[in-house]
Symmetry: C2
Amino acid sequence: MHEIGFIRDLALVMLVAGATTILFQRLRQPVLLGYILAGVLIGPHTPGMLVADAQAIDDISNLGVVLLMFTLGLEFSVRKLREVGIGVLLVAVLEVGLMLWVGTGMGRAFGWKGIDALFLGAIIALSSTMVATRTLKDTGKQAEPFAKLVIGLLVAEDVLAIVMLTLLTALAVGGSVHAGTAFAVIGHLGLFVVVGMILGLLLLPRLVDYVAGFGRDETLLVSVLGICFGASLLAAQMGFSVALGAFIAGAVVAEARSVGRVLHLVEPLRDMFAALFFVAIGLKIDPAMLWQYALPALLIACVVVVGKTLACSFGILALGHDARAALRSGLGMAQIGEFSFVIATLGLSLHVTSDFLYPIAVAVSVLCMAASPYLNRSSDRVADGLARIVPRPLHVLLDSYSGWLENLGPVNENAALAAMFRRLLWHIAINVLLVVTLFVIGAYVNAHGWDWFSRFGIQRDLRHALIWACALFLSLPMLIAVYRKAEALGMLLAELGIRERYTGAYTHAIRKVLARMIPLATLFALALLVGALGSAILPPRGVALSLLVALVVLAVVLWRTLVKLHARLQAALKETLDKPEPPAPEHSP
Amino acid sequence: MHEIGFIRDLALVMLVAGATTILFQRLRQPVLLGYILAGVLIGPHTPGMLVADAQAIDDISNLGVVLLMFTLGLEFSVRKLREVGIGVLLVAVLEVGLMLWVGTGMGRAFGWKGIDALFLGAIIALSSTMVATRTLKDTGKQAEPFAKLVIGLLVAEDVLAIVMLTLLTALAVGGSVHAGTAFAVIGHLGLFVVVGMILGLLLLPRLVDYVAGFGRDETLLVSVLGICFGASLLAAQMGFSVALGAFIAGAVVAEARSVGRVLHLVEPLRDMFAALFFVAIGLKIDPAMLWQYALPALLIACVVVVGKTLACSFGILALGHDARAALRSGLGMAQIGEFSFVIATLGLSLHVTSDFLYPIAVAVSVLCMAASPYLNRSSDRVADGLARIVPRPLHVLLDSYSGWLENLGPVNENAALAAMFRRLLWHIAINVLLVVTLFVIGAYVNAHGWDWFSRFGIQRDLRHALIWACALFLSLPMLIAVYRKAEALGMLLAELGIRERYTGAYTHAIRKVLARMIPLATLFALALLVGALGSAILPPRGVALSLLVALVVLAVVLWRTLVKLHARLQAALKETLDKPEPPAPEHSP
């Protein structure tokens, strides 16, 4: 009987996971490590303790990935990303890039084929959020200032992981990646993420808070899971990974007022499926293969620990933090984990990587996980040791460097102007992106909704005209917003750029011209963009022209209404993002 | 790609469940009903909204059954069963028996084959704990006195459901059930339940509290799930349903001090999988078939509502409660639910019932679930109406009946003696059961451990002698306990049965004889039982005799140690059961 087989396997896995979690908790070792080892122990390659249907367990652990990414998203939140700061993001990019390069180089040096080497680079590039945060918690250091840096780096790496996953998928499916394809993929991804985020932020936190108002945990949980899986489904339909959809859904729901309750409800699910996920990783491993590749695995693990520690430490140091915090952060990041498995599984399931890569990834992560608590506990001693070794002049240099950095920040007035400038550009970019999205959706509807239109007797030209008109009229508020922001930008630039002492009496006139030219140029650029985007669905010239005229008339007539509408949407978004920090989730005693 | 297919289906189901839960919560309808209807809507029989791989969803929903039964067990607890009282248990037995009989009769009247009719009886016999408790909660009546009666009836029905599931499985596999087989099955079941409970109560609550002491929710959750699935696995290995194992595990873990935290952690899992379980039920339904069998389904639903209401109301009335409470309890029980699906699925998966039975079961339960809130809300009006209709003499009769019942209870002194008597008998029964278990396990090891023994060069006779000796020596504490309790029983009976006024001077002598005879008779009966049970593993006569002699010597020598050992075990069990009521689980705001 299939059913009993499935439940039997699951029961076996869960039983072993339960025993392991108690044992490893007792031994004060990372529980994730225990799960993986337990998986190896009961796996199909170990005689006697056979798990029959690894496929079913695999399905369940895929479910685990979705829930894992969703909770990572819940703990991520857009606000946290903004708090991380551009500096930490930069460190993460450099560090991940470095590890990717080192990993690929190592793979080549081992004589592996190109794609194996590249996947190795990706596998060792990303630290494990689960291991790092747990180690912080277990060693009681989560409240120390450096913990914030680690969390910041992890959040930044999450974003990079999503980019990397998407690129690797495109690469594995397409065979190779040209710069153009990569750009298109990243563009697509960016569009999906930003649009998903904005629409999500407008709708979902309100929906979640509304449902939370019913006061029933079951309803809240099931609807939040509906959102999580719905977003995964959408991402999969658009050609991205389900993990991405779940992550974005989590990050969006994290802005709801009731995120504490949601997290509290989702955590048990995450814990159960994380256990299944890590045991399933072990299940796929043949111990004999581990033994065979022990040497490269050991080597790679050393490179991960040393490379990640050095890269992160130097990066944090360069940001102006003191040497001790830098070293501690570096050691906190010195491991790989769940993303490595997701990437290794991707390579396996798309049949592009060799069979040995997966066990190596597991072996390396197991070694790093095992080392992680010791590295973290010894960080103070290592820091003290280094402080004694490092010559005095270097100390002085470091101190003066961080002092110099502190003085480097922009001066008050300029800072305010720069912030205003940044905000205007940011608003214009988002609105342009929304317009682009509308036309992309229009093109998609045009291409895929063929049957549907012809069923209503709508022919090609009429269809084009309809879709084009819809896209155009829906983007009207955004177009007006872009115009207004561009106007403000022009005025700002005129004020800043044309100083009275150079232009004398003409100042006012020149400023006026500049202030007009910028919005007009923006509108022109926008028109070109819309024309290019809409080329697939452009109706016959006459229709298009009359539609454009109608649009302009409408814009003039409804100007104030549309400005108000856009302002209301923007205010709703701002309100969601700027609400006070939600209370920490309650924990049972 | 299989993985995406699975996640896609699951995502679709979860998305629909999420939307449904919000909608039905808003409409103030039972959410379970919504899940089922949503399942029908996206099922493979509805064009357009196809769920591809119903098997995978089925696997997941089987997982749901395990978690559902586990949480039912957690909320059940041995203490609650003791509080239910023998009266309510009796009402449940009569009511379930009546419905079983009525259902079977109806099936026959429809001209169905015998086993279909029997399954119909079983399907309509058991009320839905989930629906009934939720309806109580939603109508705000959970604190009223009659709610306790409903909960008691539901708990009692849970026990009957387990018996029924086991019997139906035996019947479906064996084709028919003779009285002997039924007796053997119930005996087996009783043995498994009681032994599982006792061993579980000795070990598991302590283990759970120990793990809870780590203070990490993840560890607690995963190990509790390990226990739940481990028990399911054990039950499946012994030939029972996984549901039974999960239920017992829940009832046992419910005695842990930290049950509040456990329940809090498991509830989100239960909610998620319950949603999947009920949607999966809908998925299996072809709406066309529902339409075809609409008439019998409607008829059966009416019989369920009227029959259950009347049977429960009269039962509760007969226990001496007032008419209003009786009617409310009856209306609270007037629906069928999760057990009906489990039973219907059993019939389907064992290929013994006809295809139409499952949709009918679903249709009937949907109708009952839809009616449930209205029935509950109208219970006061119905009670008032009935009170006006019922003639005065009947009122008086009812009042005097409940007054008479109150006076019926045993008088003080006799009550204390009767309680002592009952406790002694109970202790003897449990110890005998444990001895029986040891020999059954011995026989099992003898039958299945063949290879293992011969690997060590142990031949048949030696094997028998070894196992028999083990079973005998391990049962020594229990045997001594039985002897001591029987002695006490003999003394009690002697005191009670032989009154001085009848026997005069001989009183003391006769009492002494009686007090000795009872333990000796018990020991003799026990020896016969052990001989019969151990016949499969009885070593050659000489060996057996010498072992027996050794046993007696050992018993005499170690008497005090063994008595202490047994007392300690018994105290541990008692402590687990008699601990103060755990604090109510905390709920997030």
